[in-house]
């Protein structure tokens, strides 16, 4: 069969070439730094896509697993704790830790149907924040854990100035995540997930072990989210405070999946670009531009585009559901086909 580039490949190829734009554009744009955020959310949303897109289980607490990943990364690496692992082993460990957290939450709750499960995950998201906030002894409460190490490649540790290194690190990890998720999607497991989403009774009657399959989806999503959390903690050199991992993050990830296309990897990538790009590139740059040109008086919150983001998210969701109910890039039918 002749190979032709799929949408995922095209998106990733464009992303790989993006730093070239930075050379052309005025230096103050700092496009790469902003696009890093897109990559991070794309990883998170790819995780959410496994559980919500493939297996059809609405998860409103994905940010909690991101927090689990960030804090495990913090505890494993920060010098105020005895573990003091390097960047790579700690980042690798966030994956099994996240999977374990997903398993703990999933095992007792996956018997619940649709909306009830969504409420449980929502509650879990809030509980995790509260636990992190109140468990001062372990998590340093609202201060967050810092400083955290950056990756080392060939001796020296990276700093914030190594913009392109960070960019390509995020890019490489995003590519790895895409490959991993795609391999799972196009396998026996992915097919079992779709069948459960389509018709649980039928897939059970075909011998699919529904609980186990759902649990794997849940743990996989949690592992990927924890991985994203560890990565974000590393780039910020701090876990940040627990309320950084609140409901807004979960909803943003969900918006990415819905706007992009539920169950479609290419869709999630585009969705991340649209949603996060709007949020942290277009609005931020627009605010800066307006401030620089004297439009938008200080103190008038309505005139600052930064404050429009929920308006825009809401609008994007309504438009997506109204005009493109299957997302910008809907999943293909013959998914596991080669």
């Amino acid at each position: 069969m002749r190979w032709r580039p799929g949408p995922i490949f095209i998106i990733l190829a464009l992303a790989a070439l993006l730093p070239l734009l930075d050379v052309v554009l005025p230096p103050k744009m700092q496009l790469c730094e902003a696009v890093r955020g897109v990559f991070l959310y794309a990883i998170l949303a790819l995780g959410l896509n496994v559980v919500t897109g493939y297996a059809g289980l609405l998860n409103l607490g994905i940010a909690a697993f991101m927090a689990v990943g960030a804090y495990s990364f913090g505890i494993l690496t920060c010098e105020i704790y005895p573990f003091q692992l390097g960047f790579w082993p700690a980042l690798a460990l966030t994956i099994p830790i996240g999977a374990f957290a997903g398993f703990i939450l999933g095992a007792p709750t996956l018997g619940l149907r649709g909306d009830y499960l969504a409420i449980v995950t929502l509650g879990f998201g809030e509980i995790v924040q509260d636990v992190l906030k109140n468990l001062d002894v372990v998590t340093k409460g609202t201060q967050g854990i810092n400083p955290l190490p950056a990756p080392t490649f060939g001796g020296s540790e990276w700093t914030a100035e190594d913009e392109y290194k960070w960019y390509y690190l995020f890019f490489a990890l995003l590519v790895l995540t895409v490959i991993a998720v795609r391999n799972l999607e196009r396998s026996r497991l992915g097919r079992a997930w779709f069948s459960i989403r389509e018709d649980e009774i039928a897939s059970r009657s075909m011998g699919i072990r529904v609980e186990r399959t759902k649990l794997i989806a849940f743990a996989t999503a949690a592992a990927i989210a924890a991985f994203a959390g560890g990565l974000s903690a590393s780039v910020l050199s701090s876990t940040g405070e627990p309320s950084n991992y609140d409901f807004q993050i979960s909803i943003l990830a969900l918006c990415i999946v819905i706007v992009g296309g539920i169950g479609s990897i290419a869709g999630v990538l585009v969705g991340a670009l649209v949603m996060v790009g709007l949020n942290s590139i277009v609005l931020v740059k627009a605010t800066a531009w307006m401030a620089a040109n004297g439009i938008g008086s200080q103190g008038n919150v309505l005139l600052s585009p930064n404050n429009w983001k929920f308006l825009i998210f809401g609008l994007a969701l309504i438009l997506a559901v109204r005009l493109k109910p299957n997302g910008l890039i809907p999943p293909r039918i013959e998914r596991a086909q080669q």
Binding site: V137, L184, S187, R204, E334
Partner: protein, 344 residues
């Protein structure tokens, strides 16, 4: 030899008795039909057989024994794991600050190597120096909850549809339940899923055995589609199939697991006469390939044409059983079910 035997099966929904004291035996290699007016409890009987409902009374045997997951050592081991997992989580969760302080904070001096061996022993003494309400009690209560939950979910799942399907009992549904967004071949592959061996890791890392298995099963799925006459539509979405073909695809999907017995719930519903003729041939071929067939059907020409024996239900009770010739002339059935001759 009997493959399927129902012994006094009764299904009640609250006060409503949907199926009452039904006995039947299906022999290896026969085509057995269950007929009866709408609401006679035929589909409920199928659901009780395949584990979607648990029979209120009576039991169902396949190959001479009831299909329930046995209480093996592995299950007991899982219960023990559940006990310790939930118990230890409760214990640690309750005392996390104390333990963390004693093990990590008290032992860790900045700029000095961490005394791992001391830390490794201090967690143990820390836990057991706590008052009993903070260690043993949470361990037992948490563990009890863990074991209880594991036991409840295990006993509920003992006779679950997935377990029964895995034991070789496949079925189709009256109101076609295909996976509409998956292609035809994918639908069949879902039916084959429990015969596959490769797991998460081989899929994630694309190990050689992943490719080997995929090739193997794609080939046999293709063959099954050819068998039911849908081979040329393998890549099409199941949702786009015409009605008559969907029933065939459901049969192919059910056959994917190489069942010993297949239960067809109204396979001819909504088919035109020529499709029914094709279906009759297909049902015979399924039987000739070695799968015992049980079917629910209203279509009398099909039932009389293919069945070896027929069971008649009315208001949940069985009113007759016999070969087609007996059923055809049984006045009780003509009166109760067929009503007038022109149905036949």
């Amino acid at each position: 030899m009997s493959v399927l035997r129902a012994d006094g099966v009764t299904v009640k929904f609250g006060g409503l008795v949907a199926v009452q004291d039904v006995h039947f035996t299906v022999k290896q290699g026969e085509i057995y039909a269950v007929i009866g007016p709408n609401g006679a409890g035929k589909t409920t009987l199928f659901n009780a057989v395949t584990g979607i409902y648990a029979p209120t009374e009576g039991h169902v045997e396949f190959n001479g024994r009831e299909i329930v997951e046995p209480l093996t050592g592995l299950v007991l081991f899982k219960f023990a794991c559940a006990f310790f997992a939930v118990g230890i989580l409760t214990l640690v969760g309750l005392n996390v600050e104390t333990i963390w302080t004693a093990v990590i904070i008290d032992n860790y001096k900045f700029d000095q190597p961490f005394p791992w061996s001391v830390a490794a022993t201090s967690w143990y003494s820390t836990i057991w120096s706590l008052p009993l309400v903070k260690n043993l009690l949470p361990l037992l209560i948490g563990g009890g909850i863990g074991v209880g939950a594991a036991a409840v979910s295990w006993s509920r799942g003992r006779r679950a549809p997935d377990h029964i399907a895995r034991s070789g009992v496949a079925r189709t549904f009256q109101n076609i339940r295909l996976f509409n967004e998956l292609s035809l071949i994918q639908n069949v592959l879902v039916g084959m899923d429990y015969r596959m061996k490769t797991g998460f890791m081989s899929a994630l890392f694309r190990l050689p055995r992943f490719y080997r298995e995929r090739r193997e099963f794609h080939e046999s799925a293709k063959k099954l589609l050819d068998f039911v006459g849908l081979g040329d539509r393998a890549e099409q979405a199941a949702g786009s199939l015409p009605y008559g073909f969907r029933r065939r695809l459901e049969i192919a999907r059910a056959l994917g697991g190489k069942p010993t017995i297949i239960l067809l719930d109204e396979p001819a519903a909504g088919m035109n006469p020529s499709e029914v003729v094709g279906l009759m041939a297909l049902i015979r071929r399924v039987r000739d390939a070695g799968t015992t067939v049980v079917l629910i059907e209203h279509h009398m020409r099909l039932v009389m044409g293919v069945s070896d024996r027929i069971l008649v239900l009315q208001y949940g009770k069985q009113i007759a059983e016999g070969i087609p010739e007996e059923i055809r002339v049984n006045p009780k059935i003509i009166e109760a079910y067929l009503g007038s001759e022109d149905h036949g």
